[in-house]
């Protein structure tokens, strides 16, 4: 909010941070803020990923535009990565204070700045060179650079931070050249946003979510990461601090549904291609989480030298969930492959073998307990959601076989799928509680928001009385207003502290209600939930139901995916019921 960039990892999302003030004031930042007392307002330039932070002081008004320029085809050489900051005076005069304090490798490595004069302020990292060029005078010290800038109405100044692994590095132009990059980037994002085919209510929120997903995409591979941050706490001051800068397979099916649903088939295809390519390394088993190139070694470690966001320790990098067994990911991957095939996608020989291999693993392992979708650290259990997703995997493979896309051992897969359904129907339904439960044969009959997805995967129609009863019980026991918790506070998840409501669960609830024909309450719930986004329309993983504060890593792909899917379901349900009404008349 105050013109400071407090988190930046280069060159990949999961690379060590250059600016880490988000997690510790001493871990580096790049700030441009007025010297005089100011009020501030920020927004995205409409339908773009260009942030505009407008400062107002007693003497004037100025805007700082932050963007990562999109390279123009056929132009001059461009750096591998660039963060461009444009300062524009709007009226009067505003004096800014600029401070550049890079702290490489999560502030573990020493900083050595070199004043290259016309070549910019250089900071050599072990794997590349970070260069700051500016048309502002900067005093360059050994570990930081600083300067002052007085900007008047109509004036523009630029600060460009670039990263290059290869030498010679590219030294970007400032002035008119930088303005041209801003204009090109704004135009590129607007053209990209215009491709969104969603035509229902709340289009701006849907487009913003699509734009956020695009920013979470690692372009060289097509992977979509869960969030670009690590260790933003799920409980402020607590220990639920995780690194989300990786790709979770559990998000695969919902991700494709969202991308295909709003017209971004190319991005969806790229994501599925990454998915099938990445998982070859562990074939036929699937790991829960992979890095952006499908790497599987994501060892978790703590960074004790960092204070953590609002003193929330430990700060972790890497993610221990990579070693968990989550049965549901098999269903997610097969469901995603089914969506791809439904759009006319075809599988090569390796991919066909991979998919059949997934079915074999499910047949062999579905009777085992697993860690479950929420990755609790309290041990493996027989999670209902996981069993249902095992059924989704086998049922989806049978569907692909019937469509002629692959060949599977039909009899065996059908027999196992029927066996799973039998177990879920008998052991996951608690007649006393009148609800499906979090785990099989659970005398406590704990509800779980993941059960809201059963109709979304086609396991049961949302109008099934058991599903309606389960939805009612989840609303009763897990919802606070429009916000829904994953499970009841007090359920042993192996961690201390009380977490917030889980963003996507509210959107799942909206979908379950809409599919059950409860359009109006679902729409109301959707609109109440939308009001919980931050001022930029972005979502964290969780929301504090009391204060409305965002909790956990930010922005969170899964929540944005949930928003898009809920909007699509509501639109379709509304049209179906509208059509029905017209026919009735």
């Amino acid at each position: 909010m105050d013109g400071s960039i407090d988190w930046l990892c280069l060159p990949r999302f999961d690379s060590p941070s250059l600016f880490g003030a988000l997690l510790d004031d001493a871990a580096g930042h790049f700030s441009i803020r007025p010297r005089a007392p100011f009020s501030v307002d920020r927004r995205y330039a409409p339908h773009t990923n260009v942030v505009e932070t407008t400062f107002r002081t007693a003497a004037g008004r100025a805007v700082v535009r932050d963007l990562m320029p999109v390279a123009e085809r056929g132009g001059e050489a461009v750096p591998e990565h660039e963060l461009l900051r444009e300062v524009e005076g709007l009226e009067g005069s505003v004096e800014f204070e600029i401070e550049y304090r890079p702290r490489p490798n999560y502030a573990r490595d020493p900083t050595r700045l070199d004043d290259g004069e016309v070549l910019g302020v250089r900071c050599a990292l072990p794997g590349g060179l970070v260069t700051l060029r500016a048309d502002v005078d900067l005093y360059v010290g050994a570990t930081s650079a600083a300067g002052r800038l007085r900007i008047r109405g109509g004036e523009r100044r630029y600060l460009s931070l670039t990263f290059d692994r290869d030498a010679p590095a590219v030294l970007v132009g400032l002035g008119e050249a930088a303005r041209s990059r801003v204009e090109h980037t704004v135009g590129w994002w607007r053209a990209w946003s215009d491709r969104c085919t969603y035509d229902g209510p709340h289009r701006d929120a849907v487009v913003r979510s699509a734009l956020a997903l695009k920013l979470l995409t690692y372009a060289p591979s097509g992977a979509i990461i869960a969030a670009p941050t690590t260790s933003l706490p799920e409980v402020v001051g607590g220990v639920r601090n995780w690194d989300y800068r990786y790709c979770w397979l559990r998000d695969a099916s919902f991700t494709l549904r969202a991308l295909f649903g709003v017209g971004y088939a190319e991005e969806g295809m790229a994501f599925l291609s990454w998915l099938l390519h990445a998982t070859r390394l562990t074939h036929p088993e699937l790991q829960v989480v992979y890095d952006v190139f499908g790497g599987t070694r994501i060892d978790e470690q703590e960074l004790p030298h960092l204070a953590g966001y609002a003193d929330s320790r430990p700060v972790r990098i890497g993610n221990g969930a990579s070693g968990q067994f989550q049965l549901d990911v098999y269903g997610e991957v097969v469901d995603a492959a089914g969506r791809y095939a439904a759009l006319g996608g075809r599988f090569d020989g390796d991919q066909k073998r991979q998919l059949v291999g997934i079915g074999e693993v499910v047949c062999a392992r579905w009777r085992e307990p697993d860690d479950g979708i929420w990755e609790p650290r309290g041990g493996r259990r027989h999670h209902t959601h996981s069993k249902v997703l095992a059924w989704v995997a086998l049922n989806g493979l049978l569907g692909l076989d019937a469509a002629g896309c692959i060949r599977v051992p039909v009899e065996r897969f059908r027999r196992e799928a029927d066996a799973i359904r039998d177990v879920v129907d008998r052991q996951a339904w608690n007649p006393t509680a009148g609800s499906f439960t979090q785990v099989l044969d659970d005398p406590a009959a704990e509800p779980d928001a993941s059960l809201l997805t059963l109709p979304l995967y086609g396991y049961l129609p949302a109008t099934d009385p058991r599903m309606r009863a389960t939805v009612r019980r989840i609303r009763r026991q897990l919802a606070t207003g429009p916000l829904v918790h994953r499970y009841r506070h007090g359920v042993d998840d192996g961690l201390v502290g009380r977490e917030g409501a889980f963003g996507i669960c509210s959107f799942w609830l909206v979908e379950a209600m809409a599919l059950a024909g409860e359009d109006e309450p679902a729409t109301r719930l959707f609109e109440e939930t939308l009001a919980c986004a931050n001022d930029l329309g972005l979502w964290a993983e969780e929301i504090d139901p009391t204060s409305g504060a965002a909790l956990g890593n930010f922005p969170q792909a899964l929540t944005h995916i949930g928003l898009i899917n809920a909007a699509l379901t509501l639109r379709d349900a509304s049209r179906a019921s509208g059509g029905q009404s017209r026919r009735d008349r």
């Binding site: 050489a77 290259g116 016309v118 070549l119 260069t131 030498a167 590219v170 030294l171 132009g173």
Partner: protein, 159 residues
């Protein structure tokens, strides 16, 4: 001149030199990427520049192999240490004369005095290519010692 040996061992020595410089980059001893630097003379596209630059680098390797061969022929002998000696001189020349002069001939390279322009925006190497990393000279010397040693060890002068 033994053209067959010049072509064969020039090729091998160039591949080894390129491999050593690439390894130096991977080991973070230097950021210098010679194929990229050469390729940007003809293309601003990063990927295309690396491919074109690799071909240019290979041709350079053969050209220099002919010079090494000429030296071996004039001495009527070739040994690994003679080759390494020429490689050392070659490396020093590249570091103190060749690379610092590059901004004068590279159409996209900025000058250290006047700075980057819209069309000349690549970082110049500076003295001994130190702008590309403090251990760049070490990498260049080791790679050229290997290049010369291979040529000296395997080249057979015509008597």
């Amino acid at each position: 001149m033994n053209r067959r040996d010049t072509a064969l061992w020039g090729f091998v020595a160039t591949i080894v030199l390129t491999g050593l410089l690439s390894s130096s980059q991977a080991l973070r001893l230097t950021r210098m990427n010679i194929p990229y630097m050469l390729g940007t003379m003809v293309s601003a596209d990063r990927d295309r520049a690396k491919v074109v630059g690799f071909a240019m680098h290979l041709l350079n390797g053969w050209l220099f192999a002919a010079l090494y061969a000429a030296a071996f022929e004039s001495w009527r002998r070739a040994t690994w240490w003679l080759g390494a000696g020429i490689g050392l001189i070659h490396a020093v020349f590249v570091l103190v004369a060749g690379l610092p002069l590059l901004p004068g001939i590279h159409p996209r390279m900025a000058s250290i005095t006047s700075g980057p322009t819209p069309t000349r925006n690549l970082e110049p190497p500076g003295f001994m290519a130190l702008n590309y990393g403090a251990r760049t000279p070490l990498s260049v010397v080791v790679a050229h010692l290997a290049y010369g040693a291979i040529l000296g060890a395997f080249y057979r002068p015509r008597r």
